[in-house]
Symmetry: C2
Subunit: 470 residues, 2 copies
């Protein structure tokens, strides 16, 4: 990028907030996605919405791509500067603007860490439920752009269910304010919902108002192991059929249980085919009743062992396995590809079975854990990107996993986003008319295609880009 342009950006945000050294550009050339990398031309840290608008106007004039980036925990290459251009960081826009106790909302800048929001509101007896596994590192801006999910989705929904209002800079540099501190608002199209999960392709979100709810009075955790996937799946169905909606209902398969045990050595039953971890929150009587009932249901459906935590400390012990699942799996091989094919809750057993068969067929190692109550599975492929032959088998296996998810009424991504990595599969879910509709929306709002170009919409279809790049 030439000096004239760098100086122009520096005039907007100050010289110290513009980075252009090769080392700095390299640091923002990747995110948490294996095997995707591209260097930006400039990295800029604005401090206000107005500075963001200034950057966007200049990028629009110069036709420069813009990639908004939180903490870069994206798992679908959504924050990789695929076409170069300007990375906008929100590390300086990290203020809690307002906690409104009367309307139960909190207004924040995009750079606030999600966990910090949860901790802050908890001091006031309030609760922000969405809890993506990355929440200790990831920013709320990233969560909103990706419509992040988490473990509490079954009972409490996902990020979009809590976003009440947004301030955003449109691709032409104009500001919009959507929504409000309102329980109800039907003034035209739901622009808030359109921006949430749009992966930075429609505008730059610069302020977010979130809905809060009262903190539940208590919570309780239980665990159950099963000798068959079907028994675990029957337990999930029976819990729902008993009209219990637990706050979390997590799943790990045999491979994941084994990896956790290898890592932690805490005495997990290696011969179990499946583990279910469940938590209920709310009023104490209800929590006790629901968790006891869930243990009974698990036993009735063939659980080989169960445990109900008597204290928060015991609950933490029960939750250890699920919490470390990804770390444990990541240690096995040089490359971890974490997917999130999602199916209707009723299809979980079928889906996990298919994943296991696909792994055997292509001789690749895939372990599955995830959010059973949501049908949101994380088949995790343990591999090595340096081995081209193995990666081709991985490619074919993941293709078949997505194909199976769609066939079972599911989707290619439950909570990670499409990004660059899953763009080639999007048409499988949406069909040509769905893709065409999304493209029409994108083109109408960002005719220059400067907002995070190369994301969501694939150049080609049905080819995994990771291999094209490999």
């Amino acid at each position: 990028m030439n000096e004239r342009l760098i100086n122009a950006f520096a005039q907007i945000v100050g010289t110290e907030n513009v980075r252009s050294s090769q080392a700095e550009l390299l640091a923002y050339s990747y995110d948490a996605t294996a095997n995707f990398q591209a260097k930006p031309d400039l990295v800029i840290s604005p401090n206000t919405t107005e500075e963001v608008a200034g950057i966007v106007k200049l990028c629009s004039k110069e036709q420069l791509p813009i990639v908004p980036r939180g903490s870069g925990t994206n798992l679908a290459a959504g924050t990789v500067p695929t076409s170069g251009g300007v990375v906008i960081l929100f590390n300086r826009m990290n203020r809690i603007v307002e906690l409104d106790m009367e309307n139960l909302t909190i207004t924040v800048q995009p750079g606030v860490i999600t966990q910090d929001i949860c901790s802050f509101v908890e001091q006031h007896g309030l609760f922000y439920p969405p809890d993506p596994s990355s929440m200790k590192i990831s920013t709320i801006g990233g969560n909103v752009n990706e419509n992040s999910g988490g473990l509490r989705g079954l009972k409490y929904g996902v990020t979009k269910d809590y976003v009440k209002a947004l301030t955003a800079v449109l691709p032409n540099g104009e500001l919009i304010k959507t929504g409000g501190k309102l329980a109800k608002d039907v003034a035209g199209y739901d622009l808030t919902a359109l921006l949430v999960g749009s992966e930075g392709t429609l505008g730059i979100i610069t302020e977010i108002t979130l809905k809060l709810i009262p903190m539940p009075a208590s919570k309780k955790t239980g665990i159950a192991y099963f000798n068959s996937l079907e028994d675990a799946a029957k337990t999930v169905s029976a819990i729902i059929a008993n009209k219990i909606i637990p706050v979390t209902l997590e799943f790990m398969d045999k491979g994941t249980i084994g990896a956790v045990e290898d890592f932690m050595k805490i005495g997990l039953p290696r011969d179990a085919e499946a583990m279910l971890l469940f938590e209920q929150d709310g009023d104490e009587e209800m929590v006790i009743r629901d968790t006891k009932r869930m243990i009974e249901i698990a036993v009735d459906n063939g659980a080989t062992s169960t445990a109900l935590a008597a204290s928060n400390e015991e609950a933490d012990v029960l939750k250890t396995g699920r919490r470390v699942a990804l770390s444990a799996l990541s240690r096995k091989r040089p490359t971890t590809i974490l997917e999130d094919a999602t199916v209707p809750r009723s299809e979980i057993a079928k889906m996990v079975k298919e994943i296991q068969e696909i792994a055997v067929r292509h001789d690749v190692q895939i372990c599955t854990f995830g959010h059973a109550g949501d049908g949101n599975l994380h088949p995790t492929c343990l591999t090595d990107v340096r081995d081209q032959e193995e990666m081709e088998r991985v490619e074919r296996a993941l293709d078949e996993i997505f194909e199976a998810a769609i066939r079972l009424g599911g989707t290619i991504t439950g909570e990670h986003g499409v990004g660059e990595m899953k763009a080639p599969y999007l048409e499988w879910k949406l069909g040509p008319s769905g893709i065409q509709l999304m493209r029409a929306i994108k083109e109408s709002i960002d005719p220059q295609n400067i907002m995070n170009p190369g994301k969501i919409f694939a150049k080609s279809t049905k080819k995994r880009l990771v291999l094209q790049n490999a």
Copy 2:
């Protein structure tokens, strides 16, 4: 409309499902909105999604406007065929397609009456919470197109929070299927959320999958009267500050209380400035505790009288006043204009006060009731459209009400939609860049502007169309 075209439509749906007599066209020339009327050219009742696609293709070819219509209970002239064209009725597409007990979803055609869905799922211990006041007459297709709210919005949200998947015919006649029976799905833009509340301007919804939840075990109702609006508003704030989220928290002002008493003669306190009606549902212990606490909070904040229903029958008695509010008001004058300016919950007292002062200033009769917990107020103007001079004062008063709602951080419509009636005010809420963004989306999806033209987007701005037509 010429015979050739009528025959072409008849070929798609059968002669008996095409209506073109003047009497029939007149019957579909208005909805529940006072003073808006325009005759369609044809009224068609398709039976399948494919027939809808056939109709839309033909309309696209002939550049004919299409107005989808449920039961015509719209209060913003959203289903008036403003530009003529074809009205599509869903009276034959009124089947419940599937109840899925494992995934807790119900799939329905758009013509099903909303109350029928609630009653049907209740037999299976399930609950569809959105409850617009029109639910005994209105169709689910209308509710989805308008993103209808209702009395239970505070705790359970509105229609959009329950729509999981849609089948829709796009303006070019192509089919799309959005979403799925999925708790989580981030595969591209949220087209489901874009279509919900789009008032028939982006496509024709032909199948809907709704999320259900377990039916709460019990519910309980209480009521409180106050000598000042501030005391009622303080009670609302204190309930929330006590971390209670009741299922309903309804409000009536003095004028509405008086109108109900005139109508029903059930002994309501005519001197009260405000009434709050509240209901909690859920586990019995929690319900008893919350409702008792709400009564205490009301008393602490100056309630002059309170009552807690001991049975469902007693609850029905307490709810009578709120239930008949609109009917009672409608009997007072020839024309009833029901608005739904909405503000943040914290601004309710200010807003009601402003409405009362505006009414006095313009010498018009406006009574207010609504959903206090949601800040969703229904200022109801009792007038006579035949009196041009009075209507001009009504016009100015409603202008000021919308201006006040926006100034207090609110919106021009909480649950009724924009339609034709509120289109001139939309820019007040969204600003020029918001309107421009919505127009860009509309034009990208419906470049011919055949989908319910004249709705949401006003020809002019800041002028109430009701007067232009009067």
